[in-house]
Amino acid sequence: MHSSLLEIPEQINTETQTKWKAIHMALVVEAVDLKKTYMLGKIPVEALRGVNLKVESGDFLAILGPSGSGKSTMLNLIGALDKPTAGKMLIEGVDISTLNDNQLADLRLRIGFVFQFFNLIPRLTAKDNIELSMSIANVSRAERRKRAEELLETVGLKERMDHKPAELSGGQQQRVAIARALANNPRFLLMDEPTGNIDSKTANEVIALIKRLNEKKGVTIVMVTHDQHLAREAKRIVQMFDGVISSDVVN
C-alpha cells in the first residue's frame, strides 16, 4: 500500500538488499546527527544540535526532558510533521527530507499520534473519530465500522462508542485517541505527554493500556514526556537536555 516506505536504494544488489531490509526494517526510527534550528523572530534557536537515535520494532521508548530540551521538536520530526535543518530523520529507512507533502501525509498514515490534549474532533462520536482516520486511509465503510468497534473494545470503551468527546472523561478521551491512533495499523505509536492532561487515577488506566499494547500486541511506542513517573513505565529512557541526548538507558 505504501511502497515508498519500503523503497531501497536501487544501486544496491539483491543480496545486499535482503540484508539491508533485515537491518533497516527492524529500525523503525533512526535519527542521524539531527539538527533543527528555529527562527524566533530574528533570533535563531537551536532546538536540536545533533541527535542520534535508533528505535527498533517492539521498543517502548520514553523521551524525557525538561521544557526547552528539544523533545517537542524531536516529536515533530519523528512524526514527520516537520523537516530537519540538517542531518537525517529516517522513518523505516526513508529520509523524510526527501519526501514531498503528499508523501509525508502518506507516511503519517502509518504513524499513530496520541496528543496531550487528545485532539479528538469534538463534533464526532468516539466511533466516528476512529473511523475518520480510517476514511483518510480510504478504508471501506463496512471495514471501518467493524474495526472501530474492535478497537473500542480493545481500549475498553465499546459501550461509549456513540458518545462525543465532551461526554467522556479525560482518560476515556485519551483511550479513544489511542484507539484512533491504532486504526491504520501504524508502525509505531507516537505519544506526546499522553497522561499530561488527565488525573492520576485515570492516568493509570491509560498507562496500563499503553503497556499492554506494547507487551501483548508488540506495538512500538515512542513517548515524549517530562513526567518521570510515566517514563519509568517504559523499557528504555532517553534523556534530552539542551538539544542533545544526555543519556539513553534501558529501564
Binding site: D82, D101, N102, L107, N119, I121, L124, S133, I136, R180
Partner: protein, 445 residues
C-alpha cells in the same frame, strides 16, 4: 479520502453551525431567486409580446411608410404602441394611393398584393355615445385577404364590395373594457366625424354610416394589421372624406415569408428611383426581432444586477470560510497529523461551499419561480401595463397575461452559477487551509 467521506465530513461541519451556514446560504438563495425570477418573467414577457404581435401581424407582409428613418410609424393606433415610432420625416415626399401599383411593378414576381392605408383620428358617435377612434381607409377585399386571420367579423359581415357608407368597427370601439358592453352593433347607423385641420379655420367633416360588422378581438398590439380600437371605411370613401390622394402606409403582401424574399423586396423598394430613399420598409419579422432584442437587452441588464447580489453572496461565503478556517486551524492540524493530504483539506473546504451552493441554488430556483408567478399575477391583474396603451383613440392597452417561463437552460444555468460562485469564493480560504503547516496548526489555540 473518498468523495463521499469528504462530503460527509463537510456536512458534519456545516451542521455544527446551522445559523451561520443558513445565513450564508440565504445570500445565495436571494441571488439565485432574483436571477431566476427575472429571467422567467422576461422570458414570459417576451413570449406574450411576441405572441400578441404575431396575432396582429402577417409574417409575409411588408409595411411601407414615408421617412428614411428606422421604424416608421406604421399604423399609429396599435394599442398606443405603434404610434410611438418615428414616422413623418421632414421631406415633402408624399406616399400616394396609386403608389401601390408602382410598388407592385417593382417586383411583380414576389408581390401578390399591395394595399394603401389612409388613417386619421376622428370620432364615431351614435345618439347615445361618442367615441374617439382611428378612422382607417382600406380596400376591404384586399385587407381581408392579407389579414385573413384578424380582419374577421364577430358579428355582421364584411362585404368585399362595400357601399360608401359601410363601416367596420374594432372590438374595443364597441366594448372598450372587453366586459360585454355594446356601444355599437352591426346594423347601427352612426356618425363619423373628422376635424380637418389642414384648412383654416379647421373644418369639422362628418357623414352618416352604417355598421356592417364588428371585428373579433385582435389582441394587444395590432401592428400594420387590424386593431381593436380602429374603425374601417372603404378607400374611396376615405379619399373623398379626408380630401386626399395620399396614403399613410402601403402594406405589401409577398409570395412567401422567406428572409431572402423579404430582403430582396425591401431593398428593391427602398432603393427604387420612384421613392428615392424617401420611404422605409419594415417587415413584421424585423419588428418582432427588434422587440425581442430590446427585451433581451433589458433582461440581460436586470439579470446583471441580480448577478451582483450573487456576487455579494459569494463574498459572504468567502468571509465565513475565512472565519471558519481560523476557528478550525487546530482541526486542520489534527487532520494533517492523521495523514490527510493538503489536497483533501482543500476538497473538504470546497465541498462545504458546494453544499451551500447546491442548497442555496435549489431553494433559490424554487423561490425565484414562486416570485415570478406572484409578479405575473400582479401584472396580469390589469396593473402597470393596463395603462401603457393610452395613445390615441379609445385604446386602453390590453392587460397582458404573462406566463413566466422557466426553461431547463435557466434552471441549470442558475444552479451552475450558484455553485460556481460559491466555489470560486471558497477557493482562497480553502487554499489557505490546505497550506497550513501541521506543526503550527496543531499548536494553534
Amino acid at each position: 479520502m473518498k468523495t463521499r467521506d469528504v462530503f460527509g465530513y463537510s456536512f458534519s461541519a456545516i451542521r455544527l453551525r446551522k445559523l451561520r451556514a443558513g445565513l450564508t446560504t440565504l445570500g445565495v438563495v436571494i441571488g439565485i431567486a432574483a436571477i431566476v425570477a427575472l429571467l422567467s418573467i422576461t422570458q414570459g414577457l417576451q413570449n406574450t409580446i411576441t405572441g400578441e404581435l404575431q396575432k396582429g401581424l402577417a409574417t409575409d407582409t411588408l409595411i411601407v411608410t414615408v421617412g428614411g428613418g428606422a421604424l416608421g410609424g406604421a399604423q399609429g393606433d396599435g394599442g398606443g404602441f405603434g404610434g410611438g415610432f418615428g414616422g413623418g420625416g421632414d421631406s415633402d415626399f408624399k406616399l400616394l394611393i396609386n403608389d401601390t401599383q408602382t410598388i407592385m411593378d417593382l417586383s411583380p414576381g414576389n408581390i401578390t398584393a399591395t394595399l394603401a392605408i389612409i388613417q386619421r383620428s376622428g370620432n364615431i358617435s351614435s345618439t347615445e355615445t361618442n367615441r374617439t377612434t382611428t378612422i382607417v381607409g382600406v380596400d376591404f377585399a384586399e385587407y381581408k385577404r392579407i389579414y385573413s386571420s384578424t380582419f374577421v367579423a364577430e358579428s355582421g359581415e364584411i362585404p368585399d364590395t362595400p357601399e360608401n357608407d359601410t363601416v367596420v368597427i374594432g372590438k374595443r370601439v364597441t366594448d372598450p373594457r372587453l366586459n360585454g358592453t355594446t356601444l355599437f352593433s352591426a346594423g347601427d347607423t352612426v356618425t363619423i366625424v373628422w376635424a380637418n385641420s389642414s384648412v383654416r379655420p379647421p373644418k369639422i367633416e362628418n357623414y352618416t354610416a352604417r355598421v356592417a360588422a364588428v371585428l373579433e378581438e385582435v389582441g394587444g398590439f395590432g401592428f400594420g394589421g387590424p386593431s381593436d380600437t380602429s374603425i374601417y371605411i372603404p378607400t374611396i370613401q376615405a379619399q373623398g372624406f379626408f380630401d386626399t390622394d395620399q396614403c399613410d402606409t402601403i402594406v405589401v403582401k409577398l409570395v412567401n415569408s422567406d428572409e431572402s424574399t423579404i430582403n430582396y423586396v425591401t431593398e428593391k423598394i427602398e432603393k427604387s428611383e420612384e421613392f428615392a430613399g424617401e420611404v422605409s420598409v419594415i417587415s413584421s419579422t424585423a419588428v418582432v426581432e427588434l422587440l425581442q432584442s430590446i427585451i433581451s437587452l433589458v433582461s440581460l441588464f436586470l439579470v446583471g444586477i441580480a448577478a451582483i447580489s450573487l456576487l455579494v453572496a459569494g463574498i459572504g461565503i468567502m468571509n465565513i470560510m475565512i472565519v471558519s478556517l481560523i476557528e478550525r486551524t487546530r482541526e486542520i492540524g489534527i487532520l494533517k497529523a492523521l495523514g490527510m493530504k493538503s489536497r483533501t483539506v482543500l476538497l473538504i473546504f470546497l465541498s462545504e461551499s458546494v453544499i451551500i451552493g447546491v442548497i442555496g441554488g435549489a431553494i433559490g430556483i424554487g423561490l425565484g419561480w414562486v416570485l415570478a408567478n406572484v409578479v405575473a399575477v400582479l401584472f396580469s391583474g390589469g396593473g402597470p401595463f393596463g395603462g401603457v396603451g393610452g395613445g390615441q383613440g379609445a385604446g386602453a392597452g390590453a392587460a397582458m397575461n404573462i406566463t413566466p417561463v422557466l426553461t431547463p437552460v435557466v434552471i441549470l444555468g442558475a444552479f451552475g452559477f450558484g455553485i460556481g460562485v460559491s466555489v470560486i469564493f471558497a477557493l482562497y480560504p480553502a487554499w489557505r487551509a490546505s497550506k497550513l503547516k501541521p506543526v503550527e496548526a496543531l499548536r494553534y489555540e
